[in-house]
Subunit: 246 residues, 2 copies
């Protein structure tokens, strides 16, 4: 019986075509699979808690794979970090029960979207923020964040290409949705039980419309604003029930 | 009589072959010259306060050029930032007196060298720090920083290729030289009236030798340790006498 391994991964998504493996394109999943496959000696499938789009970053994405190799978890973490590029780091490696699935077992995810408000965006920040120095009613935006909390049908906030294709439920529950100013950064943080493709970027685009005075900040919009750029988005964490760990 | 313009520039040096213009290679000076030349309509020479090596960053490098174009300084800053890549930002544009020279007029420069001490270096930090998670006596390193303060002949800390070539004085005055721990970062900050090529990286390499217990931290070494990697180095500021501005 192979071991089941859970990894916590941080990455700078700038130079990757997203999480999901694609032929002939650098992706996070593909890069990690290649490394783990090299350690194990035959192909190992690495499953993530969810896809992130091209250019999206992660502070603590979670993924899992099965391994025959008995290497201790600390050595595995070190070996992976030695083999991976500096833009992907394994923060934690744990043995978990054999049935662990990073996507189906997740109970909450948290994302952060960062907007840089000053005229000049520093060279060390531009990869990780959306630079938007134009006038915005930030108070209206902060009010608008509240309408997303609770259980809603987020069909209007799903990616256009997934609307018709997937007949699955678009109902999700948002536990918290808040906006705060930290220096030059306007930071939107959202925690929920799941997110549709492009959902956080579409909510952010809609908050920007509230900031421009184009929509009422007090009701859940029936139509999404433009999808905000990927690079401002970071997956902060994925939560699981305690019972998952060995 | 053309105007004399002083600019303050921040850059991420990762993707550049240093400050100094080189044929067919991306450099900071070359990139800025191309933009200013485009605005002016004929070739404009941009002079910096000093060269930074390939991979070295800057929070506030200073440069200057002469311009016939009467464009207001705020518009010039905006135009330059629109045309430059996001990895180079013009923080400030000022009209200065015609004789201003960013290198000869500088009275002090400050550099920072950052060493990441934890086992895992986050993907958003690796471009800007030297990752060194191995044992170091940081107290000995902090003591060793003091021996550089004052006026010294820094011949031993100059780049190998500049020692024989330049018959100029290698005497420099260091105003302050300090080491501090900030979370996972070990930060060396040095302010002086001038720096030889590779000098800060060589001092840092020598501090690391003190941290390993290989040299006495209480006397100025006669021989430099290995040149620390460029990416940990950032030029923080360049100072000028007040009278420079118009």
């Amino acid at each position: 019986m192979p071991r089941r391994i859970r990894i916590t991964v941080a990455y700078d998504g700038t130079d990757y075509h997203g999480w999901q493996i694609q032929p002939a394109l650098p992706t996070i999943q593909g890069t990690i699979e290649e490394i783990v496959t090299g350690i194990e000696g035959w192909h190992v499938r690495v499953e993530g808690s969810g896809r992130t789009d091209a250019g999206v970053h992660a502070m603590a994405q979670v993924a899992a794979f099965s391994l025959e190799n008995p290497i201790p978890v600390d050595n595995l973490r070190r070996a992976m970090n030695r083999l991976l590029p500096a833009s992907i780091r394994i923060l934690c490696v744990e043995d978990v029960h054999e049935g662990f699935h990073p996507r189906f077992d997740a109970v909450a995810k948290t994302y952060r979207y960062t907007i840089w408000r000053d005229e000049v965006c520093p060279p060390l920040e531009w990869r990780y923020v959306y630079h938007h120095p134009y006038p915005l009613n930030e108070k209206a935006m902060a009010e608008a964040t509240r309408v997303y909390e609770g259980e809603h049908d987020f069909t209007a906030f799903a990616a256009a290409d997934s609307k018709a294709a997937e007949p699955t439920s678009k109902v999700r529950t948002i536990f918290s949705s808040t906006l705060e100013r930290q220096g030059s950064k306007l930071i939107y943080t959202v925690r929920g039980n799941g997110f549709l493709k492009h959902m956080v970027r579409n909510i952010t685009g809609t908050l920007l419309e509230a900031g421009r005075g184009n929509i009422d900040p007090h009701t859940l919009p029936k139509k999404s604003g433009r999808t905000a750029p990927a690079k401002g988005l970071t997956m902060l964490s994925v939560e699981y029930p305690r019972s998952v760990s060995l």
